[in-house]
Symmetry: C2
Subunit: 191 residues, 2 copies
């Protein structure tokens, strides 16, 4: 963080960093590697969706490939990850937070919660993966728990609830976030 | 098509048009509208994935949103559409062709066929939607038929095979491509 001579924080840069989706890149990298491991070992077919971009201008002048010269990030209408595991449709969103005490719902778009609710109603497996960066703890929380709290006008999920109702995910070298083990537990519980 | 004084066709522009993904936009629009109809009527949750883009430069100078100033189209590693229907994972690619006699496999990336094969092996419903633009006919073809022909070193699927093994999709005003009716037939057949 840059401090100005006046002592004022450079909140503009900080804000832009977040809006451009810089947050959560470590978790994203870990999940992509885990998904590749699941694919290589024929355990599941789960992919991250591309970032939604609004393309405004494309330059076809150049001899090589078409070059996009003006585009903007769009708010996603669904979650970032979906696929198939044990014949079941699986869908989730992944978020990092720097909070030590709670998972703030402002980190997740309302569209995404509606989408997870629709997935559940059609018999899919829906959840949220939450990483508490400063605690170095990553949890899988079944979507229903997050949706219920959100619909009860809560603004966040306390860490205590995440620890109590979620599944702590182990980290390994080949599979950095082995979340399918937690999905197995969800399936056993009939969620 | 621009003809040069030499009589040579401007194949460069033609090639760029195709690579920039201009083809298939009418079918894409029809499918998006059909998926919205399925979502609104609570029949299925199926979405098109965003176009994969390689972002090179982002301009954070402006006060408003971050502006992407250099980016390129990437080759997709999976198909364009997936979701859940009747509790089942469903995955497909959609392509238009201007051919009147066959569906050329060069229209589909090998990655996408591998992906559809993986989906099938995990118990998902996998298919390709093919529109013959000049014939005004749109078909759903189960992925196994396309994969088998591709693995047998065929370069295309003859229209006769598409007509024989595929399902002709009806067009309606509210649901322009009612492909889930064909999926019901696939499910009845145990595909």
């Amino acid at each position: 963080m840059v401090h100005y001579p006046t002592g004022k924080k450079n909140t503009f840069q900080e804000k832009n960093k977040i809006s451009a989706g810089r947050r959560g890149q470590a978790l994203e990298k870990d999940l992509n590697q885990s998904n590749q491991y699941y694919l290589d070992t024929n355990k599941a077919v789960i992919h991250k969706k591309p970032t939604p971009i609004q393309i405004v201008k494309v330059d076809y002048q150049s001899r090589s490939t078409a070059k996009i010269t003006e585009a903007y990030f769009r708010i996603p209408s669904t979650t970032d990850y979906n696929g198939i595991y044990k014949g079941r449709y699986l869908d989730f969103e992944a978020k990092e937070t720097r909070s030590r005490t709670l998972f703030p719902f402002k980190a997740i778009h309302p569209h995404q919660l509606i989408h997870l609710k629709q997935v559940k109603s059609h018999g899919g497996i829906a959840f949220v993966i939450i990483r508490f960066v400063l605690l170095q703890e990553t949890y899988l929380v079944e979507a229903g728990i997050v949706i219920e709290a959100y619909e009860n006008k809560q603004h966040s999920l306390p860490l205590s609830v995440v620890r109590d109702k979620g599944y702590l995910l182990k980290s390994g070298y080949i599979c950095p976030v082995d979340y399918l083990k937690a999905v197995d537990q969800l399936l056993l519980k009939g969620e």
